[in-house]
Amino acid sequence: MIVYLIRRLLQVIPTLLVISLILYGLLALKPGDPIDEMRRGNPGFTQEDYDRLREFYGLDRPWYVQYWRWLGRVLHGDFGISRQFGRPAAAYIFNYRFPNTVLLSGLSLLLAFLVSVPAGTISAIRQHTAFDYSVTVVNFIGVSIPIFWFGIMLIYVFAVRLRGFLPAGGLASPGVVGAWPIFVDRLRHLILPVIALSSLQLAQWTRFMRSSMLEVIKLDYVVTARAKGLSERAVIYRHALRNSVLPLITLIGLNVPLLFSGAILTETVFNWPGMGRAIFDAILVNDFNVAMVSLMFISLLVLAFNLMADLAYALADPRVRYE
């Protein structure tokens, strides 16, 4: 197990290197550079300034030289300066963007998990009932609905038609004072984006939970539990549920990083200042350092969660052995 863990951890390093090379290469191939952003709206900016700054930042060198230098700095823990904001890129992302993303994605994750496990379970143990059919249809809707359109429609209903029953977007309203009102205000701003963002995962996990449960309740030990006279409730919740949640945990591990990067559409619709939007904006204005630190962080998350999902599975299921 330890050997397996070490081997997996060692595999992460070359994978991250290749990913960073691909991303950096693509970003560098993209025409225009950060200096263009500085020149824009600055009439006193001369060609000499341009050339000097390009040389200063090393942008006149081929992209692989730039990559090599970037890599060297990163290994010393320096992710460079955001040229949009003039402050360290890593600090900007982790102080201002990451907490918002964790809040939005974390709550979406929680909502999806808390709804999908009972919904999938009940749907499975009452297979072919009206409840089961409606859950299945709702699942199909959840995986088919474009998130951004769903978000826009939510805004229309709850913010426009119901005259500001819930805010149309943003992080918080200005001018709210007091701990409790601020808390309520933040919560109200979270409701719609969390519903929109969790819809896809909610549907996928419910469907997965349902089929996982359907397989488990056919197994011998469940029959045994019934045969020895346990109540249906005990059979399902004490015996079957534990084993059917296991594969879902793996799936959740694989889905978590998606919630971090895939929230661009939700963040755009709800004007939510999170990581997805930060990456989007950074790519558009060639702010390489911000784009790279966020992208590398998300790639690291993907790999870490893949590994954690495998490990969690091994810990929860003694039959799984990794060599």
Binding site: T15, K30, I125, I141, S144, W149, A159, K218, V223, I264
Partner: protein, 345 residues
Amino acid sequence: MNDPLRSVEPLESPALERSTAGESYWRGVWRRFRRHHLAMLGGVVLLIFVLGAILAPWLTPYEFSRQNRRNMFAPPSFSVPADPTLVGRCVRPQVLFLKCGMHPFGTDDLGRDILARVLQGGRVSLLVGFIAATISTILGTFIGAVAGYLGGILDSVIGRCIEIMLSIPQLPLLLILVGLLANPEVRLAVLLSDALGDAKSIVIIIGVIIVLSWMSTARLVRGQILSLREREFVEAAKGIGASRGRIIFRHLLPNVVSIIIVQATLMLGEAILIESGLSFLGLGIQPPAVSWGNMLSRAQGFLYYPNGVFIALFPGLFIFLTVLCANFLGDGLRDALDPRHYSTL
């Protein structure tokens, strides 16, 4: 459910199912597919959408790009206004029951007929969806089959590639690729716009979707081929001296065709969602071309206008219905093509 014995009964056996009165495999597929009402419905609706997209320019009195500043934000209605300035100019006076002046889906912020735009947008969205799904599935199948059958170093290299592609955050990668190919300073982009003109953004988006979506098919096919290649019929084919290409394409792939068809159907929905998301962000299909996604890109700003919601409602509804139908169809096809897989509906 309370009868414990019922739950240990085996599912319907594929062998029994298939041997009904000596019917062929495909007749059995059709029989099982017809039982799946939602899938039938999905297929029929998709067919109607495709026909609507093909016939788009001839189905409405209005042309999709014709503006009428006198009649902006008109609500959906089948009545013809008395004031001729509100009617505006039509290409033809009447199509079936649709008269010039009727806007069944309303008009947008420039007074353009939303129905005409939805139909025209469907052309682009469905075209992108179908082409991207088809090519991505073929590419994924090819890569997966070759990796699975040949094995060895090639297989590990392809496996690592798939893993890396799946670890890179998808949407940002899409953004970079689209930005790259849309920029006039990149040589490939210049080449593309010389060759394609206005259709460039469509080709770019198709290409980008393919680049980012072949992996799941490749994985799936590889897994299937890995188990199939150990079977006797492959040994037999080798024994009579069949070439590797012949074994892969004539003996192995026909056995995974059902999985590939299902995958292609699901990929159709996926591709349409990716296209609409990118176009919504302003990076996909560029105006004056119109797709369901780019119709939505400015729509959010009009939510507070009277009747402004229809600009957002209809294109999104059509994306949703198309993807929903594709998913119903895929689910039905999975059950019909592979009886061992039990239905979720």
